[in-house]
Every structure is written in structure tokens, then in C-alpha cells.
Amino acid sequence: MRESSSKRHYNEPLARIVKKDAMSNQRMAAYSVFALILAIAAGGVFIFSLGYNPFKVYATIVSGAFRSSISTQGTIKIAIPLLIASLGITHAFKMQFWNIGAEGQIIMGGIFATYFALFHSDWPHWLLMLVMCAAGMLGGGLWALIPAFFKTKYGTNETLFTLMLNYIALYMIKYLAEGPWLDPKASGFPKIASFEKNARLDEVFGVHAGWIIGLVLVGVVYFYLKYSKQGYEIAIVGESENTARYAGMNVKKIIMRTMFLSGAICGIAGMTQVSGAAYTLSEGVAGGVGFTAIIVAWLAKLNPFVILLVTIGFSVLEKGSSVMQSSFGLPTSVSDILQGIILFFILGCDFFTRYKLIFRKGGQKNDN
């Protein structure tokens, strides 16, 4: 009667997945290092399949990032916005608020800061810098506040909302460049004028002062999230909104405040980009940094110090790849592919920190 069951009797799968207990930090770190090695190896296989020596290519990447003081400075320049934006996103993520709008928040920070750079470049330098920084924070913060408001009011999905805002911010630059802020000297070409010297961020050791801001933020964010009352509130809201309400916290206020902060920090990244790196505002001001920052924050498990490390890794890969064209004749986009492959492997390896596979025991495969 039961033909169907007979075929199912012993077909135990080869392996099954079981959840692990939480791991200690040391083991977690060991796993991460292992995953990284595996990921780099996988990238190496790709390089090899293109017909190049992976060791040579990797060596070139690393040396390319640090081969001269100028390249080292270049690497740091790449790292600055990524670091700051990742720190910004961390606030939102800690609250389980999926802010993928860092890109837009960077742009808005850039736009707000640019306003002062263009129209108040005669202010005393230090004042202008402070105002631009504050304006950048305000711009990024307000831009992040919009989805936060609708999230708290109507429960609007923040992932999709923040994603859309990225594009609106991007087209706002386009609008400004084509219209109100059009550089009259650009003879009709839609671009915004370069900042005057007074509106440029000072350099310290050859790199704009953004790196100091970034490093300071690493410490500040760490202490804020770990030891401040507000940081505690963020963690509780992220854990469970009901628990937060139960404890008498004003959840809506906390979400709005934290999102403002998250956006404001991303806004600083925008400000340092326009006044420290590009000396103007263009559509490339964020250039995908906001998206990469999401990956960085997530990979670093929201730990500011680890974020610093991951950021450096990304920047080295990015900067080092720029010499690939001259050294190997490989297009610079190879760094995107490598980044992708490495990340895929790290994402995949993360599985083994949370689950384990139990393989079928040989003897269990008994016959009828």
C-alpha cells in the first residue's frame, strides 16, 4: 500500500545544518581571518584564470597602494569618506534600522557644505570650515530624518525609502550644476565652480584633515554606542521596540535622533569630500561610497575599530588596483570583480560562524 514511502525510507541527506552556540570573540576573529585568507585565495584563482600570477598581482596591489607617499596619501583619501560613512551607518544598523541611504546623505552633506563654500568663501577660514562641517551634518541629518519620520509615523519601509532618496539627492546635484549653481566660467558645460582656497579643507601630513575627523570619530562613536545613555537606548530599540517602550523610552524620538546622527555623520563625509578631495561638488561626490560603507559596517559587525581595519583593506584594494592598468594592462574595474569575489567568500564563510554541518554517518546507510 505504501510504495511511496519505501523510496523515502533511508534517503537521509548527506549533511544537515545545525545552529551553533554563540562563539567567543577569539574564535570569531580566527574564523574571520580564515575567511579572509580563503577569500583572497579565491580572488587569486580568478586572477590565475586570467593568465596572471596572483602573487605578483596581489603584491602589486599592496605596493601600489603604498609605493610612494603620494599613493599612500591617495589610499588614505579613499579611506576617509568610507570610514566616516561606515561609522554613520553603524548607528542606524545598531538600531536595526536598515539605512541604505548613506549615499544620499553624503551627497546632501556635500550640497549643504558647498553652499557656504560658494557663497560665503570670504568668511574667516576656521569659521567657514566649522560652518561647512555643521552644514554638512545638517544636510545629511535632515535627509536621514525624512525616512525616519515616516518610519515612526506610518511604519514605512526604510530600506526602500532610503534607497530612493539616494537618487533624488543625486539628481539634486545635477539640477544645481545645470541651473542655480552653474559655473559661469565653464562656458555652458554643466558644472559647479571649484572652491576657492579659503573654502578648502586644510591638509595635515599631505592629506586633508578629514582623516583626523575620521580617527576621532572612531573613538567617539565607540564610546557613544558603548557607554552613553543614548547608545544604550539605541541598542535597546534595536533589540526590541517593545522592550524600549516598556522601559519608558520614547522610541520615536530615539529613532529620529539616531537617524539624524547617522545621516549627520555621513554628511561629514560629504563635506570632507567636497572641501578636501574634489574642491567642488559633482555627481561623483559619493561615488558608491555609501553602498560600500554598508558592506564595511556589516563586515565589521558594527565595531568602530574593526570598521577602521576593514576600511583600510578596501582602500588598499581600490587604490592598488589603479596601477594594474600600467603594470599588467588590466582594466581598473578588476578591483570591483576582486572585491565582489572576496566579499562573496567572506559572506559565505560567515555561515560557519553561526551554523555547523553534520554529515551523515557512514554506518547509518543500512540497507533494507
Partner: protein
Amino acid sequence: MQYPQLSLLLEAGGILACNRHLTASHRVPAVANYFLTGEIMQKEKTHATAIELKGITKTFGSVVANNQIDLSVRKGEILALLGENGSGKTTLMNMLSGIYRPDSGSVLLNGEAVTINSPEDAIEFGIGMIHQHFKLVDVLSATDNIMLGVKGGSRWLKKTRSDKIQEISRHFGLDISPEKKIYQMSVGEKQTVEILKVMYRNANILILDEPTAVLTPQETKKLFDILRRMKAEGCAIIIITHKLNEVMEISDRVTILRKGESIATVETAETNAHELTELMVGRPVELSIDRPENGFEETLLEVHHLTVANEEGFEAIQDIKFELKRGEILGVAGIAGSGQKELCEAMAGLLPVSKGAILYNKENIIGKSPEEIIKMGISMSFIPEDRLGMGLAASMGMVDNMMLKTYKKNKGPFVSRKEARELSKRLIKQLGIVTPGVDTPVRRLSGGNVQKVLLGREIESNPNVLITAYAVRGLDINSSYTIYDSLNEQKQKGVGILFIGEDLDVMLELCDRIMVLCHGKVTGIVEAKTSTKEEIGLLMTGGSGKEGSADA
């Protein structure tokens, strides 16, 4: 041997195309034919074992949920699986339904060893499980949920499907609207859908996980009637419960689990509630709870015409009125979802109140935030039903959880973990909390320890009013008694306690008075000393006892 007969019956019942593939399946469709004929078909009673578990072990991380469990059910038998919360009943059954995979041990179906890799396999083997937390898709209709995943038949979703479902449910004596979406349904209706789902798949081994928790006594009776008829048809039924009276009423045999191990299997006719309790708990239990006399007279809290809308805008509490004295334990009884949650949250200031007043020492606290209520000098502690989701931050340690309501008191912008750390250490000693350390995430503690953490924190704040929702849910009897003792201790200090409970036997012994809620209204407040379970049960269903149908 059986199915030609069945297919005839089905056709006679007018259920043609839709059920054909079912009759063509390899299973013995034992459920359907009874309902379709409407009378008990006399057939030989088989006492062969339907399913047998041998040496089943299942661990979650380092927690051993099931250890070497043996269990068997015969055809035409109702087996009660009795055990305290956390004894591993649900885990065990989830292995039969394919949700979990055992680490070791074997399952024998009709004497043959089988491997159940997935729910799909379980269905194939004729095992149907009605989970305590319904496994239904909210945005889909009853029909879609019932037909979900059914193999064979047309590839298209035909309009006529729901007619057939309706027809079947009429034959089964169940009442549903096939087109109604799940999210619009009451709990009772949802369970009906779950039952139909299992019936539609012609399960002949049926597992029900705490099916009566959400039902009125009338609905329970109806469910038990159905189960008896299925049993007469030769179905093997396992019912998970921790309610002894239900065990005695419905089951043929009882298997008792304790701390993940099978302790004994006894014939229901040869045992009694007392013996079962002892087996369940593992030692002789004095089933009596202290009820110290209330030495206070003054009224602490008055609730007038309170109306509260829940998050969906539905009036979950309608115009209720009661008072709470100092040193009194006021029980709140009612079927799950009668407004208990909303009452608690409104009193704790977590849900906005539409109408009415809550007077604390003659002062109205309506409209105040939990923070303001605390500032008024009212110390109200609330131990919510959803402990890890509401009372605690699950992935934080005890220290961080201790600060939850006091972190603001520290001066300056930073938190201080010093006091919280000391408090944690003290509570671990006082209440015997078992935890690897004060920083171990509380989600890794057992249910009883989680409850102790929460209770300890709340009592530590020296409340005047203590609200507890299902304070002992998920706890073993030992821990439960620790909690009752703590509550009585608070009572003697003059704290007014609102005790939301589900076990009427416990409430009758522990509480001074019991308020009964039904559909958000108070149907009566009785003196616990003089009242009976029957009286309260009647009040729980609206007083008349006639409102039996599944609709809300």
C-alpha cells in the same frame, strides 16, 4: 483495502474531482470517511502500533531538549503527551512533523524504520501536526492555506476550489468562510483552518500541540468530539498538553516527559491526576498554594470605564471597571486574547486609552507616559507576557537588563554599570538564577531563569503595584512555586498585585478575588475562596455559556 469504499463515499458526498487525487494516494484515508458518512463506521479495531519513537535525542547547541525518548501510539488511540513546560514535548513532536531532525534515534512507522527529513515527508507518511503557533499565511485565504502544498491535481488555481473546501468543511461539521483571509480571522477560526488543513491531507497520525489554550470550553468540547470520532476511525492521535483534566478526559494512555526524558507511560484509566503530577514533577507535590490573609483595607487603584483600542484600532477593552486593594492579589481570568494584554499595557502606560480613568490614590494616571508615572512616585512594575520581546533585551546580559528602567538615574550622559552589576550578582544568589555569568545574553538562559531575572528586577524596584502576565508560563512547578512565594511576600508588604493567569486551579488558590474577562468586557468578579472553576468557566464565555461557536 479501504479506499474503493471511500471513493464511493466521496462521490456520494458530491466531492468529486478535488478529492480524487487524495483517494489515489497511498495512504489510508481514515479521517475523511467518517465525516462524509456522518456515522461511525463499525470496523475492526486495530491495536497495531501506528508510530513508534526509539531513543530519540535532540540537542540545541549545548541544551539537551530530548534525551533517549521512547514513545509509541497505537491506531485508534489518543495518547496524551504530558509534561511541564520545557520538558521537550513540542521538540519531540516537531521531529515527527519534520520540522526538526533528531540527532539520534529511530522512528518506526507501522513497524518500518523511516526517516522524516522534512514536513513534506511527514505529510507523505500521513502525519499531520497542528502547531500551537499556527502555521498559516496571513494574506492568503482559508482555501489557499488549506490547499497549500497539496500535491497533484490541476496546476491552476480554479475558482471552484473554495466550493469544494466549503463542502468538505460542512461535512466535517466545521464552520469557515473559505474566501476569508487569515489575518481577518479570530484564533478559533484559524484553528479550524489548521484542522481542515490536516484533514484535507488525510492524516492518520494527528498531533495537536496545546490545542485548547486558545479555545473556549465549548470549542474544546467540540474539538474533543472530533478527536473521538477520528479515534473511532482508527487514527492515532497525540495531544500535547499540561492540563491534567484534559488528559483524564480525552486520552487512553499518557506518556510523561520530564526534563527531556520519557519518564513513564500509563493507562489513563489506571491513574489519577495526583499520580500524573508526581510523575511530571518527579517528586511528591503538595498541590496547595498559600494564601495569606490580606491585612490591608485601603484601595490602591481604581479603574473606571476603561476602554482601550489595540494596535489595529479594535476595542480590545470595553468599559471595564474594578478596583485593586493594597495587599491583594486580583486574578484576571479569561480565554487568551480577551483583552488581558491590552489591559496590562494600558495600565503600564504603554497603550493609549480611549476612554475612562485609572485612579491611583485618587489621582488619574491616564495619558501619562511610563516615565511620568514613575516620576509621580507610583512605582508600578509590569512583568509582561512576552518576556524576551518586551521585558528584556534578549541578546544583552543581566547587567544591561538590570539598568533597563534605572539607567536614566545616573547623572551625566553616560551609563554606569556598577550598580547593575552588583544587583545582578545579588539576584543570582537570592533567586538561584542559573547563568554562566552576568554578561551572558539572557536569551541563552532557560525560561525559568529568564522569568526570575525579570521578576527580580521588578521586585527590586519596590513597587506599590505589580502587574504580572502569565508569570509562570513556561516554568516548571518548582520555579512556579518560587514565583508564587515571591508574589505572596510582596502581597504581605502591601503591594497590590494584578495576576493575569491561565490556570484556573492555581488562580483559585492564590488569588483573593478573580476578575473574568470575555471579549474585552468584565463578566464578573468573584471571591476566589467561594468560587468554582465551573462558575469562572461560564463567565469566561460570556456568562450564558451558550456562545459556543467559533466566531468572535
